[in-house]
Subunit: 318 residues, 2 copies
Amino acid sequence: MKAIQLRNPDDARSLELVDTDTPQLREGEVLVKVHAAGVNRADLLQARGHYPPPPGASEIIGLECAGVIVDPGTTGRREGEEVACLLSGGAYAEFVAVPEGQLMPIPEGYSMTEAAAVVEVACTVWSNLGMLAGLRAGQTVLIHGGAGGIGTFAIQLCKQLGATVAVTAGSAEKLETCRELGADILVNYREEDFAEVLKGRCDVILDIIGAKYLRQNLRALNEDGQLIIIGLQGGVKTEINLGALLPRRLSIRGTTLRARSTEGKAEVVASTIENVWPLLADSRVTHHIHATFPLAEAAAAHELLDSGEVTGKLVLEA
Amino acid sequence: MKAIQLRNPDDARSLELVDTDTPQLREGEVLVKVHAAGVNRADLLQARGHYPPPPGASEIIGLECAGVIVDPGTTGRREGEEVACLLSGGAYAEFVAVPEGQLMPIPEGYSMTEAAAVVEVACTVWSNLGMLAGLRAGQTVLIHGGAGGIGTFAIQLCKQLGATVAVTAGSAEKLETCRELGADILVNYREEDFAEVLKGRCDVILDIIGAKYLRQNLRALNEDGQLIIIGLQGGVKTEINLGALLPRRLSIRGTTLRARSTEGKAEVVASTIENVWPLLADSRVTHHIHATFPLAEAAAAHELLDSGEVTGKLVLEA
């Protein structure tokens, strides 16, 4: 089959479509012909060698796709069934092997491309804000990078949960996108200190920055507040003042979807289908696609995402 | 009334029994004549000026007591009722004003002195391991300072919840006490690195050390593990590697009971009476009193607790 690989392992830009082996199915997996694959920031890290696949996962980049089952293996699935897939890797390819628990229906009214744009963000946002943090109506949530793939989805989902939504972004244009999606409090991080604006007001923070924002995030939290870190774009190591946690009973939690076990991913997928898919079917939450690229132009998609000029998601099409 | 105060504010050892005003009742409070008051490590910090009472709380030291209601105020309580009390302060005195939601029954078969020895530890351990962490049967919990007031209680409660219990302590004698109370895994922190012994095995850690143990605590946690920090005897500031949190989905949570609102304390007290008091009534969990002192000798009790040679609790008696 054809798949994207690095021609030169030391050059993250050398992504090329090459011939490679079609994946072998393991027990409980189906083979999916990929029609569309979402691009994630983690893909950029993997191309740079900073985010190796977990043991047993495909070496090929790509954490989500939509396509058609061409071999149901030992599962009871039907050949020809259209599915969206949460993956540990392998989406930037003609075919991918998927554990049955990571298959999702194509959301009602969605194209393959649209489906590939929501799998990873829906599972990430729901597993963290719904399943882990238990975000409730009346609470205030802060979403960093509100105009990104995660952010554009999280704003809408949090509004559906009845929360007040604060966001950070780096331009007036991006903040306007956040406002249109429902965000209530807009902070341009280039002009204002979000901790000063939101001091003591946030019940939950969804953070993709890490070390650089830790002190400010803790300041922004309310009593019983939870800081949930899902990305480390601002570094991993910093000083922490644990004394800041105790009086307000703060929590710092870190998660990644990719490192979860097959069982853990199946649990997230099932809960996301139950709680989020109905919101997609009637457009209470919508996908937000910035641009699409042919699979062969994965390098160009990576370059665009890396520029910071993307609002929402990029999708590769077969 | 008589109460313990610092004769010299700069000398934590200058605790003396002096004459002061009897507390005025506020709405919803009862006046309790104190028969026994538990001694906590927080009391030592307060005597040193490091742990000021929260706004509105008594300036007098002491976070728990048992005694008799002498004025029910506007509550429906009965004069003469024997009660145990969770306090924001004021226990080292002849009388203390107590919000009704912080009154507990004297556990069945307990003396006043025994009751005063369990209020703070029971509420602290239950609110953190039961209410916050949701410790379940089959999980592994690590309790630092296993032979202390919190530790001796936590070991027993965790065994009742069906957990495997690991403890740290600083001597073979203290570890033997922990073993007798039910601890399964014993680590002498002077001889072994607990993180090496417990690497990746702990679902929950109850920590009283803070900064000094942060890195080791994170190493000791299992996937989805929770580090709950309730004391900072090993300092507040340290470096953190946030990258350690994400792949195993770790949480760091800090809490103090004293900083909770009156409503928050009432919630903890009600849940502790419901879940822990029955275990005291039939001795499945027992108090552990190291020594008692007359109230006038509070300074000697503080000196003993500070020595690190105490196993279980110290109680002051009227």
